[in-house]
Point group: C2
Chain length 578, copies 2
């Protein structure tokens, strides 16, 4: 791997900068798809309207060697299963209206992210791990808010660190009153890092814990239980063992009764049809080819081959083969794989290929049948996929050429990109007769897929320019050629054949030559204008601080708290405040 040579002259980065776990060794290639029959850490049981999700971590089931997952602590592998659980409950179980998350161990619900795993992990691995786990917790909140599947944390034992943060993602938190079980965020006092999956933000901004109490809580390693935990808002209730099952059942039934979720037959998330080669990953409708020398991935998304089914029954019949879902599943998997397994490929170039009318027909159907649970789930999944792109630390470039079909939900890929390049006319030396590219805005671009800041990508694009936003809204449904798209402000640059290829080549070469860190910070700042939310705070403020802390010697240096954890020695700190 070309990365090895970098290890040597970047000696400052002996810790925290290897590609995978254990700096200097090749990172493992991670698969993000699994299924219940392969779970090692979670049990999923469905009983009518209520599902119970039980965490019982296989201590020997770590994703990579070097640590044991004791006390229901987790690593990326455990979280990949949880992501699968959340997705399957939404797609395969329309009848489930409440989800109880609990633990399979006695007195310990979950001890959070495994510390030995963190201690041996590279900086990049830690950061990527936190991002994925954050996305999954946001998905739990999205299921509660948008799918009528209310998640309830039934803490049958102590929830520490990431364990409590799992609970924070649930709508209700119930803690067993057994005289010993607590909720806690011991990261600051014990590990010298922040709770990495939204804990600080959710404590003050979601649970509305007073900030001085939040300060006490986040510096008190043993945490709180009982009246204090309830009074401060850290949990909703504590319940004695004898009433436990009844109270959890009551809360689940109550949440289910309030749900508007309707549906009888689920859609099985059958295994992805994915082909991985040395320099390519392909799925039906999605192909990615990797140019390692150029540090670039070219991603092509194909439009549908057929018109959409006539009605909801037909859509349900297609299931995972319904084009919007098939495309989204493939892209979601691709994004996760590229982020984790292909760190050097810093630029992702999106193209589309296909029949715009067929894209528009599917796009319209998502709104026409929006009341149908399955169609709703597909739309929400597209939303989550696009949010993943928004927080992806890669430069995203859309290339709009003849034969493309950037319309509606596929146009979102372009709007999510950092830049959009559109060809005027045709490539004279390829196919001078080709129909020039056109893009089409639909109502989907104006609200179906809000970003983390609550704005559509269209509204984000024209933030502060209401007249331009209104003008763009007036173009909904109209095919816009390069000049029209440029005039409407929907593309970065419209160039004719003579300039296009040269310009694009230079742009991509230049981009690939810039500091990957500076680009990551720049993109994270540019992509989210205007209002902020819990989500943008977690991915912006919290994650940025955590990344800084992760790379500081006080956490990850040879004598830092993370590295010394479990050795009996506390971290040795340089006490100067920065």
């Amino acid at each position: 791997m070309t990365t090895v040579q970098h290890e040597e002259h970047h000696q400052v980065a002996t810790v925290g900068d290897g590609g995978g776990l254990q700096p200097g060794t090749a990172p493992p290639e991670v698969d993000f798809d699994t299924s219940p029959d392969r779970y090692r850490h979670w049990e999923l049981a469905v009983d009518g309207e209520v599902a119970t999700v039980t965490l019982r971590v296989d201590e020997q089931g770590g994703l990579v060697p070097g640590y044991e997952l004791k006390m229901n602590s987790y690593d990326l592998g455990v979280d990949i299963e949880l992501y699968d659980v959340v997705q399957r409950l939404r797609f395969e179980h329309p009848e489930v209206k409440a989800v109880v998350m609990t633990g399979g161990l006695d007195r310990m619900f979950c001890a959070g992210a495994n510390i030995r795993m963190l201690a041996q992990s590279s900086h990049a691995w830690k950061v990527n791990f936190c991002k994925f786990t954050n996305e999954t917790r946001n998905g739990i909140e999205d299921a509660t808010e948008a799918s009528g599947q209310t998640w309830i944390a039934a803490l049958n034992g102590t929830a520490a660190g990431g364990g409590y943060e799992l609970a924070l993602a649930c709508e209700e938190i119930v803690l067993i009153d057994d005289g010993s079980s607590t909720v806690s965020l011991p990261e600051v006092p014990l590990l010298g890092v922040l709770p990495g999956t939204g804990g600080l933000t959710r404590v003050v901004d979601k649970r509305h814990v007073r900030k001085d109490r939040a300060d006490l809580f986040a510096t008190k390693s043993e945490g709180y239980r009982g009246d204090t935990a309830v009074q401060w808002g850290l949990v909703d209730a504590t319940v004695p063992k004898r009433d436990w099952d009844q109270e959890i059942g009551r809360r689940a039934a109550q949440a289910a009764a309030g749900s508007s979720r309707r549906g009888d037959r689920g859609v099985q998330l059958t295994p992805l049809d994915r082909r991985v080669e040395q320099d390519a990953i392909s799925y039906p409708y999605v192909t990615a080819t990797m140019d390692r020398a150029a540090r670039r991935v070219d991603i092509t998304v194909d439009g549908p081959a057929q018109p959409p089914p006539a009605d909801a029954a037909g859509v349900l019949e297609q299931g995972v083969d319904y084009w919007p879902l098939a495309v989204t599943r493939a892209l979601d998997d691709l994004v996760l794989r590229l982020r984790t397994n292909e760190q050097e490929l810093g630029t992702w170039v999106f193209r589309t290929r296909g029949d715009t009318e067929l894209v528009l027909a599917h796009d319209a159907q998502l709104r026409e049948l929006a009341d149908h649970w399955f169609v709703n789930e597909v739309t929400l999944f597209v939303k989550r996929l696009l949010k993943r792109l928004d927080v992806t630390s890669r430069s995203l470039v859309a290339v709009i050429e003849p034969g493309s079909c950037f319309a509606g939900l596929l146009l979102e890929l372009a709007l999510a990109s950092d830049r959009q390049y559109m060809l005027e006319g045709a490539y004279e030396d390829v196919d001078p007769e080709a129909v020039p590219a056109a893009i089409v805005l639909t109502a989907a671009n104006d609200g179906s897929f809000p970003m983390g800041n609550g704005l559509s990508r269209l509204a984000s694009r024209f933030w502060g320019h209401d007249a331009d936003l209104d003008a763009a809204r007036g173009l909904v449904g109209e095919p816009l050629d390069a000049r029209a798209a440029d005039e409407a402000g929907l593309v970065t640059m419209a160039l004719d054949d003579i300039d296009f290829s040269d310009e694009l080549r230079i742009v991509l070469e230049e981009r690939a030559s810039l500091s990957p860190d500076a680009l990551t910070g720049m993109e994270a700042n540019h992509r989210f204008v205007g209002p902020e939310s819990l989500e943008t705070k977690i991915f912006g403020r919290l994650s940025a601080w955590q990344n800084w802390i992760f790379i500081r010697p006080n956490a990850s240096g040879p004598d830092g708290a993370l590295r010394r954890f479990g050795s009996g020695q506390r971290g040795s700190y340089d006490y100067r405040r920065v």
Copy 2:
């Protein structure tokens, strides 16, 4: 210094973690007060309602050795003068309603922060430098919005990087049309870091530049000029040389005409009466004693000795001796000195001492005479001081004891703190007859000093608990003893004599033992609940990313872009995206 030993075993931190400039050497002790007769870099000229502030940097005038301030580039010393300019214009020049900021060199307005200075600086120095410069730019915006002093950037030459960010802090940006002068943010492409003083945020969130254009701009080292700069919103106008003076004059006159600022006689900001000893810094009304072994500063603020003057004329007569201004000037200076010169003192403990009634009388006067320009300026300065505390990377603890006067504006010091400890009753072994401490809320706590997020500290405290906020509002004006304050949620803990001293000792010892980095990140997340603003984005999202980038080898390692700048070699990057 005790810090030296840390240099050795934190070998990861050979770059970026020394205490001052040039890692391993003792940091210089920095003074933050100056006056026009001592300026080396700025010229201040007042002509009626319009002031002109000209940047003409003394190349040999760097604050520390090792670099030349060529091309109007700046270091902390240049920015300390600018801060003084901003403050003096507000207090000494009530007649000034528009401020033109321009440059004294030909074709180069300002090249931004000096790169050699940054390259040789420790991580802590870079971070602290950016924080102070950000605060000064926010102060320029505050002068425009709240003081009726509209700042206009008259870019008579290229404004690059921090030079353009200076302009972004102004209400209007006018660029000379001389065929060569541009505005640019070359940090990402040339230095591998972010523009550090709000550039990315202000470009998209203040100037509303479309995000893909912002992306082009921030990666194009030579920047833009002319029509593009105007059309994209990077500047408000370009003006040919022949029309320059007239157009700038016209804009300044127009801004002045729209100002509601009224006042004829200014208040001279005479030199601070400050006494610096080995372990203490004292001013009239403010004393700080440093316990280096405990890594703590104890700060005591004295209330006024006399009732306030009877009217505005009397207030103006007192000038810098007007108690609210005297206290604020002293605390502002102290905060800046401690942040820069005393990095190891991680906990600041605030106490007050004095007559609550006299504090309340001054507090009430700030509102009664709010329409008077000088009283308004004092209130705005208190606001800015408190905002400095909010973004200070130190743990803040308020201790409320008999003899204290935490009321109104002084209570804000407690509300800005991470925790508030209040003694119930008296210290039996000191003065058993002492009158127990009481705190008093005033209308000031409910809106005079909004935080960066736009909320009062009271509203931030009760975010999500409207009933508690309303209840607290109902207590305005009432002395609240420890129990009442605790019940109202205004203090973290109310303890009697038997427990108080032990608890406080343990709390401060524990705090001093924790990771300074984790505390900084935790506090930055807890202090700003609810809404976000340009300011909170700059200090939260942008600064956190910048801090991360600053410490990464791609910027600050031996082969990083910052270190190699000017060597003819580009930075050698590890291209893996994190």
